[in-house]
């Protein structure tokens, strides 16, 4: 009986958390549809999500693309198929690695910062103060972050894709002896519109997840510094898992055949 009680309690808690998250997301989306939209806040959030993430996302893409080219070269040379390097690099980067690694890096940087900021505002009663000053905390805090996340991540991922392919190009032409012109030609030949579209859709979804997890965990944090610390961790971990899961779902839907 003890066992059943534990299973029941865990299940109930999981559904309660899921329900709370759904209500939170629904409320945020409801505000998204209703003006006024806080442009100044959105721009500020876009800067902190997008612009300041460029170095870390760029470096991640560069190193990953380079390592990828090296690995594919080694693997494909066993089948005398070295010419596939450019094709595999561009497909792997644009379809999967650009958005996923970009999303994870930004999640680590931004979800945690959002959760810490909003969480601190919660435990120091700043969110209550917003309400008493007739300002809806969803409109002021959550909606600008969600919009900024959805708009900014695709831009970041475009940059990540380009730098990632460039990383592969560097290794292929500098150390593996590929002809630069041929390499780029193959890259362009294998890059399809669907790949780019799926990449951007993934990025927008990941941006939403990052901002939602950061805001949600911050908003519902409690219990002082420890609570804010926990909210930060939860935001990053849940954003990671949701990003990887959403990626799987989108990949299956888009590339089913």
């Amino acid at each position: 009986m003890q066992f059943l009680a534990i299973v029941g309690r865990v299940t109930l808690a999981a559904f309660a958390a899921l329900g709370r998250l759904a209500i939170f997301a629904g409320k945020a989306l409801g505000h998204l549809a209703r003006p006024p939209i806080d442009v100044q806040n959105i721009v500020q959030q876009m800067l902190s999500i997008g612009y300041f993430s460029l170095p870390v996302v760029g470096l991640t893409a560069l190193f990953t693309g380079a390592a990828l080219a090296q690995q594919i070269y080694v693997g494909s040379s066993r089948f005398n198929a070295e010419s596939t390097v450019a094709a595999v690099v561009v497909i792997a980067i644009v379809r999967e690695l650009g958005p996923v690694l970009g999303g994870l890096m930004v999640a680590g940087r931004v979800s945690s910062a959002m959760a810490a900021e909003i969480g601190t505002m919660r435990v120091t009663e700043q969110i209550d103060a917003l309400v008493t000053l007739s300002t809806d905390p969803f409109k002021y805090l959550v909606v600008p972050r969600l919009i900024a996340g959805v708009v900014t991540l695709p831009m970041l991922v475009i940059v990540a894709n380009i730098i990632g392919v460039f990383g592969g190009f560097l290794v292929a032409t500098q150390t593996l002896g590929f002809n630069p012109g041929n390499y780029l030609q193959t890259t362009m030949d294998y890059l399809e519109a669907t790949d780019v579209a799926s990449s951007l859709v993934k990025a927008a979804v990941f941006g939403f997840i990052i901002a939602l997890m950061g805001s949600y965990h911050g908003y519902h944090s409690s219990g002082g510094a420890q609570g804010v610390g926990r909210a930060t961790t939860d935001a990053v971990v849940s954003a990671f898992i949701l990003i990887l899961f959403a990626n799987l779902v989108i990949t299956i839907v888009v590339f089913r055949s």
């Binding site: 009663e125 103060a129 002021y140």
Partner: protein
């Protein structure tokens, strides 16, 4: 029949999980009255304020502001209602990311959509009202001392000239002199604005200075309510123990929370 009370509570109840915090609070505050609610730590004083202002949703009971029941209000009515309120939070709850003047002018800029220049002028005027000069306006909350934060919080609470102001432990954490400064500011601001106020505190010096009437909250109920002059002869052992700060008496302090 006289005009309806500015704030009237009836059977207000609030619990968190198993823990009952408010257990049927009845209270009336007349227009222009300054009520101080005293009570030990953790007796639900803050919860009471948050239920009245609408930050928390009570499980049962009525909250009437100007005779209007708040629980059945639409979102728009609720918003109009909120414009009547100002609140000074315990830790001042200033927005860290904004300079002092934008904190003070926050409600004017956001809710009333006032132009920046005009809002700034009002902010500086309110700051001088609480004894802070214009140089403070450009500072950020992290650069202020505890007493200054409270003053800025007070300036923010009165910036929109609300009809009702709540003070959540205004003197907690301040030295006795700064406490007196804050008490005086509260008395002056309230007199000048003609506002109705509820202050919660466990500082009896502050209570005697600010209050017209005092109510004592214990075990989720109001156990005593009367003019401040009467508190020394309340005949209520709970009140006596509290105002004289004795460890022995009918109030048993729970050592552990919860």
């Amino acid at each position: 029949m006289s005009a309806p009370a500015k704030i009237a509570l009836k059977g207000l109840a609030k619990r968190f999980g198993q823990k009952v915090v408010l257990d049927g609070v009845d209270l009336e505050v007349a227009e222009g009255e300054s009520l101080v609610v005293i009570g030990g730590s953790g007796t639900g004083k803050s919860v009471l304020l948050k239920c009245i202002i609408g930050l928390l949703r009570p499980e049962a009971g009525e909250v009437r502001i100007d005779g209007q029941e708040t629980r059945r209000m639409s979102a728009a009515e609720r918003k109009a209602q909120m414009a009547k309120f100002g609140m000074l939070f315990q830790g001042a709850a200033l927005f860290d990311s904004l300079p002092v003047w934008e904190n003070v002018a926050f409600g004017l800029l956001r809710a009333q959509r006032m132009k920046k220049r005009a809002a700034r002028e009002i902010a500086i005027e309110k700051l001088s009202r609480v004894g802070l000069d214009a140089a403070v306006a450009e500072l950020y909350p992290a650069e202020l001392s505890g007493g200054m934060k409270k003053r800025v919080g007070l300036a923010r609470a009165i910036a929109a000239e609300p009809e009702i102001i709540f003070f959540d432990e205004p003197t907690t954490g301040l030295d006795p002199i700064m406490s007196d400064v804050i008490n005086n500011l509260i008395v002056e601001c309230v007199r000048d604005l003609g506002a109705t106020t509820i202050t919660i505190t466990h500082d009896m010096v502050s209570a005697r200075k600010i209050a017209h009437n005092i109510a004592m909250l214990h075990d989720g109920r109001i156990i005593w309510h009367g003019p401040k002059e009467a508190i020394d002869r309340s005949g209520n052992p709970y009140v006596d123990q509290f105002i004289h700060g004795r460890a022995e008496g009918p109030i048993k302090m729970a050592v552990r929370a919860g």
